[in-house]
Amino acid sequence: MKRNKYTGLFYLTPWLIGICFFVIYPFLMSFYYSFTNYSLLDEPAFIGFDNYIRMFTNDPTFWVSLKATIKFVIFTVPLKLIFALFIAYIMNFKLKGIGFFRTAYYIPSILGANVAIAVLWQFLFKSDGLINMALNMVGMDSIGWFSSPNGAMFTIVLLRIWQFGSAMVIFLNALSEIPQELYEASSIDGASKFRQFFSVTLPQLTPIIFFNLILQLVQAFQEFDGPFLVTGGGPMKSTYLLPMYIYESAFKNFDMGYSGALSWVLFVMIMIFTTILFKTSSKWVFYADGGK
């Protein structure tokens, strides 16, 4: 093939079809469905803003689920990132056998969203499970993890923090790319390791922190497997996150229109959060090349 200005587009053909058909088309359709009443049996019937009005004025489940979602995101995202960064920092030490430790810390993340992990989690936090056995051993009382709202939320937040591996790997790559001279220069200036972390490492990492933050945020807002498999959304809907509500509206109640409206509200919320982050990023994200 001759090299002309369309060669690149030729390689993009599958992707172009894909983005039109699997992204743009369903994206617009879900917006349309959100203004309809559609049970899959009849044609969708246009009902204007009714779904949204119902959601905001006449659906306590929506508010409960919105609150649970925000709570989940606010606890999971920062804790997971701090933990991932801390471990990546340690994994970057030049020690013998560090490869073994990197693998060990990464294993829970490879197992990921496995149903088996949900079995494990239920099993750890059962009233007579491992966690309570350990608490009893140190003389503390058992905790009813799945019977209290905060306990149940804690278990699904902890599940995701335990799987900090992908964020850690991204941090680890970035850490290994920080120029060594920066540390040498600052240690000549007499900076302690602690000081170096805050005045060299952290600023150098801000673009990666930003990337990870957005990725984790989008992911956390869509959390489904954890609450669905581990807590079942309970107790008292305290872990009934929006994606689970969206799933049940669509595939249990076959209320496709309402479910579409819920997913659009979730989408707008993610957009608001990411836009705020993008807008504030110029204040704290530092690009070595001045930003391109």
């Binding site: 200005k5 369309y6 060669t7 690149g8 390689y11 993009l12 053909t13 599958p14 992707w15 894909g18 983005i19 058909f21 699997f22 992204v23 088309y25 369903p26 994206f27 359709m29 879900s30 471990i87 340690i90 020690l95 430790f101 990197r102 060990a104 810390y105 294993i107 829970p108 490879i110 197992l111 990921g112 969203a113 496995n114 149903v115 088996a116 079995v119 494990l120 099993f123 007579d128 491992l130 056995m133 350990a134 790559n173 970035a174 290994s176 790319e177 673009p207 990666i208 990337f211 990725l215 989008v218 869509q222 498999l229 969206i246 799933y247 595939f251 479910s259 997913s263 979730l266 989408f267």
Partner: protein, 293 residues
């Protein structure tokens, strides 16, 4: 005298260093235990009797009994786990292969060419990276329903043929960018066309990245729960993830934890095996190209 002071100073430094190394290893080992003990305990529990499981936090069973594995494999349905594993692989294998082909093409197109509309298409690609998939789920379900393809694997696989796993496209672009374009030019002078440059020059170089993509796609597809939950309704087509969940649902009086745990361990094995098989390339690959924000 001065020498003695120096010697003492050096010795103090050495001791200090040793203490710090010791402290680091101590932390690392403690962390490893915390991270992996739950899995180890799960593994041990798969050999224990149902009454023994909840008696001790020690993971080693009093005797190794393989009955939970044998019984668990049979399942309470009419199909054994052999069926569910075959089902999982008939989703995973085509999906991994299609992802590798379609994402390499797309990444090559973006990384190596200038074309009209690139200024619109590239940001669009980045935007889909952050687009919540949940918004597109319901219309896609309705589409596949109208196409009469519910309860088949096509809805689970199709998007991979069209490079819709944006994360992989993005990752491969980053890898392509680390390869100097002089290589392309040299191959062109030798008479290679652009397709030949991709297949003969660039693909061999980014092999570690492709292995990483295959590894992630394998694990994500194998463990995917929501996709099959929505699309697959006949038991004989269930993949492992759904079969495990179904086993959990049997809330009979003699709910056997050990059988479920044994099958969960089996369900974890493919991910662990493939990770260790690909690990050398995976770690090398992830540091060679890396993901830059």
């Amino acid at each position: 005298m001065e020498q003695a002071i120096n010697f003492k100073k050096n010795r103090n430094e050495r001791v200090k260093k040793k203490v710090s190394v010791f402290f680091k290893y101590f932390l690392l080992i403690l962390g490893t235990l915390l991270m992996l003990y739950p899995i180890l305990w799960l593994f041990g529990a798969s050999f224990k009797s149902n009454t023994e499981i909840f008696k001790s936090i020690w993971f080693v069973p009093s005797s190794f009994d393989f009955t939970p594995y044998v019984e668990g494999w049979k399942t309470s349905s009419q199909y054994t786990f052999s069926t569910y594993f075959l089902n999982s692989f008939s989703i995973v294998i085509p999906k991994v292969l299609l992802t590798l082909i379609s994402c390499t093409l797309a990444a090559y197109g973006f990384a190596r060419f200038n074309f009209p509309m690139k200024k619109i298409l590239f940001p669009m690609m980045i935007a889909t990276l952050f687009l919540p998939g949940i918004v597109t789920r319901i219309p896609m379900y309705i589409f596949w329903k109208n196409a009469g393809l519910l309860d088949s694997y096509i809805p689970l696989i199709a998007n991979s043929a069209f490079a819709c796993d944006t994360f992989f496209v993005y990752m491969l672009i980053q890898f392509f960018r680390t390869i100097p374009t002089e290589l392309d030019e040299a191959a062109r002078i030798d008479g290679c066309n652009s397709f030949g440059i991709m297949t003969r020059v660039l693909v061999p170089i980014i092999k570690p990245a492709l292995i990483t993509v295959a590894l992630f796609q394998f694990i994500w597809t194998f463990t995917d729960f929501q996709g099959p939950l929505i699309y697959i309704s006949s038991v004989d087509k269930y993949p492992v993830a759904i079969a495990l969940r179904m086993a959990l649902d049997t809330t009979s009086a003699d709910f056997s934890w050990n059988k479920n745990i044994a099958m969960s361990i089996i369900g974890l094995l493919p991910s662990i095996l493939i990770y260790f098989a690909a690990q050398k390339h995976f770690i090398g690959g992830s540091t060679a190209g890396g993901i830059k924000g």
